[in-house]
Symmetry: C2
Subunit: 290 residues, 2 copies
């Protein structure tokens, strides 16, 4: 009579999602592996846990196991929280990061994370915030560093320092300005800053302003330097271009509102590491912003 935590996790995930395939996705293992775990668990317990005839429905015994299994995993995360040391976290930690952060203090953060948890395998996924949100809810990433807090009861948000947006243009292009019809280069379509900026520009200058969204922030800066338009971009990332004299800041009389970021993770058992990493991200970001 010896079952493992992995088996119980697989059991719970199948019971919750109602399918072996979905459970396998969430557990990051192959689908036959989930089948095998369930089968082994059923063998060691000597009882059928699922009724396969109508699509993996819980049997009576499976239902009885449900509560115990949850209790088990809770205990596991309590141990993780109260007795495990930093070196105990030997596993994959998947982060989703929006590009603004990836371009600023992400390296320092990863370094700090690896120093604090030396056995952690860190996997980084740079994408737009909307995609990160989805991936977080799908449990495909453990921590998301993205724009704005996520308002969902399942999510814990740690507010990060904001990024001020400033106007930039190619160095010496003294007349370029949105007021004079210059194109505006900014974030990828489908992001919140893009939409608010678009509305703001429409309200201030009418419908003729062209917006060039780019999925790469550094591409934005390079396009600004090449005088393809002016940019409303994070001040914190402009320094290298400014010091190389490729771009210059200017003031058209207003600024887009600052970008708010948060470190967000799903709550519930197993969130210990997400919580710790979010705090560390906040600390790193504060150091970075002086």
């Amino acid at each position: 009579m010896n079952f493992t935590l992995d088996q119980l996790r697989a059991f719970l995930e199948v019971a919750r999602t109602g399918g072996v395939r979905k459970a396998a996705d969430r557990l990051n293992i192959t689908q036959p592996a989930v089948t095998a775990r369930i089968k082994t668990l059923e063998d060691t317990l000597g009882a059928a846990l699922f009724d396969r005839s109508s699509g993996m429905a819980l049997t009576k015994r499976g239902d009885a196991l449900l509560g115990y299994a949850e209790h088990y995993l809770e205990l596991g995360s309590l141990i993780e929280r109260d007795v495990a040391g930093p070196e105990g976290f030997t596993r994959l930690f998947r982060m989703g990061v929006s590009e603004t952060i990836a371009q600023s203090w992400l390296p320092e953060f990863v370094q700090a994370l690896r120093a604090a948890y030396p056995n952690l395998t860190v996997e980084i996924d740079v994408d737009i915030s909307r995609a990160l949100r989805e991936r977080l809810f799908e449990n495909k990433i453990d921590l998301a560093l993205l724009m704005g807090p996520l308002s969902d009861y399942r999510v814990e948000n740690v507010a990060l320092p904001t990024f001020d947006l400033r106007w930039f243009r190619a160095a010496g292009a003294t007349h370029a300005s949105p007021a004079e019809g210059a194109s505006v280069i900014t974030f990828a379509r489908d992001t919140r800053p893009f939409r608010t900026l678009k509305e703001e520009l429409l309200a201030r200058y009418g419908p003729d302003i062209a917006l060039f969204p780019s999925s790469s922030l550094s591409a934005c800066f390079r396009m600004v330097a090449a005088d393809l338009g002016v940019g409303a971009l994070p001040q914190a990332l402009a320094e290298p271009y400014l010091s190389r004299n490729e771009i210059e800041e200017f003031d058209p009389g207003w600024r887009p509102e600052a970008l708010t970021f948060s470190a967000s993770y799903l709550t519930g058992p197993g969130a210990t590491l997400g919580q710790a990493a979010a705090s560390l991200a906040l600390k790193t970001a504060e150091d970075f912003h002086k």
Copy 2:
């Protein structure tokens, strides 16, 4: 972060007994295996659990783990009790049996046990009750079928049918009787029946009665049949010798008191199987005694 129930069991046993060696004894594995389990557990938790400098004392973290580990094992036995089926008991079940029972309904009991729990590996150890008692407290056997209830708060006793003792002599040896100085053949030295019988004989017939203790009950019967003395032996085991006309019963005017047996097991988590087996033993014994 993946620890095993086996690791927690080893941890608990070392913490309780204060030694790796003793823990290994109780867990029925070698001592290096215990070391390895503890080490692996410490590695996966990334924290030292024992302070080796002064003989395996718990560290602060080890102490914190203690309560959680106990809770874990409790949950494990709850699952065993509530969701596992009979086929789930795939393990070694060690029984200690006193010879009287081994000679009577033990085969039927083992058969019934194996039918109820087909995956059980049953190990049988026939010895005198005093030795069985020790082995039970050392956790070297899971169930003891022995004489009399064990009065200890750790032990649960299920009363079994008693065995009446009768007097037997060789068939046709009409004059053999303890009153006429015949030797008395009975149980092994160091058993309770031996002592009470000895006192009784001393009180009734004086110090001249020779007592021949034998460690084998069937040897007792054969010695009686060979007219080496008379026997005070369990009636229930006499039938084959009576029907083959090798021995006969006689009445010297009194009988030793009946033997009381019990199925005894240690209480606590993990006693599910002991409890079930004890009930089954009672049922089998009652059937045997008609």
